[in-house]
């Protein structure tokens, strides 16, 4: 099976410090991959390169064989770790914005999820709590019928009750031939939905295997193993 996202010798430096150092990685369709590592390990740098927000210093990152470009952006649905929506806009305006720019955006799916979460489409983002704004972003991202969903810390800013809804939303809404790359350090909450695990530290991949293999080999949960590997 051809990888959907492939990194070959990918490196990125900020000044003298390597944020990514010779990263080789494959993400396959139909899999949910957890990109796990402590703060500053290079997760967000990798994600930014995949989304064309940074250019690598060496190596390649391709999506369906293509370098990051408008063509790859059209098939990636990206949830950054911050609020990227204009606060003056109404939710309905933002839905129109996504529908205008993304051919794969499903307006009905978005309104259905808004209704489930009791979010009024006529509310402006600036009147919402941080958690609600994050839910709106997630709804927008998961309302696309993308080939690759890249979710950077999707549950970090919401309460535990909302986390379950968000994770269910993620699982329910992605097409089975699509892939999800999910970056987080809240492993307990996401462990059950992950198919593959990638551990990253100091910009290097230190472990990449299926979640089942790691659990069977180590006799531990992914969370326990993570704590052991990244113990301070």
């Amino acid at each position: 099976m051809e990888p959907l996202l492939q990194c070959i010798g990918l490196s990125k430096r900020f000044g003298p410090k390597f944020a990514l150092a010779n990263v080789n990685l494959n993400i396959f369709p139909g899999r949910i991959t957890g990109l796990l590592g402590p703060n500053g390990s290079g997760k967000t740098t990798l994600i930014k390169i995949a989304n064309g927000l940074l250019t690598p210093d060496a190596g390649r990152l391709t999506i369906q064989g293509l370098n990051p470009s408008p063509e790859t952006k059209a098939i990636i649905s990206y949830l950054p770790e911050r609020t990227y929506l204009a606060p003056w806009m109404k939710v309905a305006d933002i839905i129109n914005y996504f529908a205008d720019f993304y051919a794969d955006f499903d307006v009905n799916r978005a309104y259905e999820m808004l209704q489930n979460l009791n979010i009024n489409p006529d509310d402006r983002l600036k009147t919402m709590s941080k958690g609600t704004r994050e839910k709106v972003q997630l709804i927008l991202v998961m309302s696309r019928r993308a080939k690759l969903y890249i979710l950077d810390e999707p549950i970090a800013g919401v309460d535990p009750a909302a986390r379950d809804y968000i994770l269910n939303t993620v699982i329910k809404n992605y097409d089975r031939d699509a892939a999800i790359l999910l970056s987080t350090h809240l492993i307990t909450d996401v462990e059950d939905i992950l198919d593959d695990i990638v551990f990253i530290r100091y910009g290097q991949i230190i472990e990449a295997d299926t979640a089942d293999n790691i659990r069977a080999r180590e006799g531990k949960t992914i969370d326990q193993y993570f704590r052991e590997v990244f113990r301070c």
Partner: protein, 274 residues
């Protein structure tokens, strides 16, 4: 895609800029009525209240013109910065279109608003001062200019006007790309992005000033304002005039192209979002 980019640029800015434009036009009408009322009554009867009212309107009018220009500038620069290099850049720059198209779409919206503000000022002038006498004065002025162009410069007026209009338009475009370039340079800093953008702006103006001075010395050419001194040197007024106009136009085009490519390079290769 350009149409969609423009749609959202105007949607996010019209609510602030359009009321200002309308306010300028409404105040122009008020001024017009006040001036007409002043003309229709005898000098002796002109009450102090009329004069004070007129003075106040003129004061507000001038303030409003300044405010419209400054607010429009701030709104457009802030919008560009936030949507390209702020948090909103994470959405804007992951839209499925070339970063160049985003940059140029925003620059085009900037340009169109600039033209709209200029057109508003001209329209406002006509609203306040429109009369047969003013029209006659303008017609006389253009007649004089026409004979000057034909007789002293020896060229067709259409060529002269085309060059002048091109210089005006290119100078607006150059100003826009200068701002974009400085914002792009500023975002390269990991902290104080806005401060670095301001420094880049001051540095660019300084560099352009130095280059202008060197070019003037080397080619004995300068800005439109220094035509008289140049004509003294090369002893031919019309040649000096045209050389300076063409030189200015070419210089603005070159500056614009350089600023465009620096912005293009940074936005495509050196993005540094927070």
């Amino acid at each position: 895609m350009l149409g969609k980019i423009l749609k959202y640029e105007f949607k996010s800015t019209y609510k602030i800029i359009t009321p200002l434009i309308l306010a300028v036009l409404v105040l122009s009408l008020i001024l017009r009525f006040q001036l007409t009322a002043m003309d229709s009554i005898n000098f002796n009867e002109r009450a102090i209240g009329y004069q004070a009212g007129l003075g106040l309107s003129i004061f507000f009018y001038i303030m409003l013109i300044f405010a419209t220009s400054i607010v429009t500038f701030i709104v457009l620069v802030t919008r560009f910065y936030k949507t390209m290099f702020g948090d909103e850049g994470y959405l804007t720059l992951t839209l499925p279109c070339q970063p160049d198209l985003l940059m140029n779409g925003k620059a085009l919206a900037f340009f169109i608003w600039n033209l709209a503000i200029s057109a508003t000022c001209i329209l406002s002038f006509f609203i306040i001062g429109f009369s047969k006498e003013v029209l006659g004065f303008i017609a006389d002025m253009f007649d004089g200019l026409r004979s000057f162009i034909y007789e002293d410069l020896g060229v067709a007026p259409v060529i002269f006007y085309t060059i002048i209009i091109l210089i005006c338009l290119i100078s607006i475009i150059m100003g826009i790309y200068k701002i974009i370039m400085c914002l792009a340079i500023g975002q390269l800093s990991n902290s104080h992005k806005v401060g670095f953008a301001v420094l880049a702006f001051l540095g660019t103006n300084f560099a352009v000033g130095i280059i202008d001075m060197i070019l003037s010395l080397v080619f004995q050419l300068g800005n439109i304002g220094s035509i008289y001194s140049i004509s003294m040197v090369i002893d031919d007024y019309s040649t000096a005039f045209f050389r300076t106009l063409i030189f200015t136009l070419v210089k603005y085009i070159v500056y614009t192209v350089v600023m465009y490519f620096i912005s293009h390079y940074i936005i495509n290769k050196k993005l540094n979002l927070e």
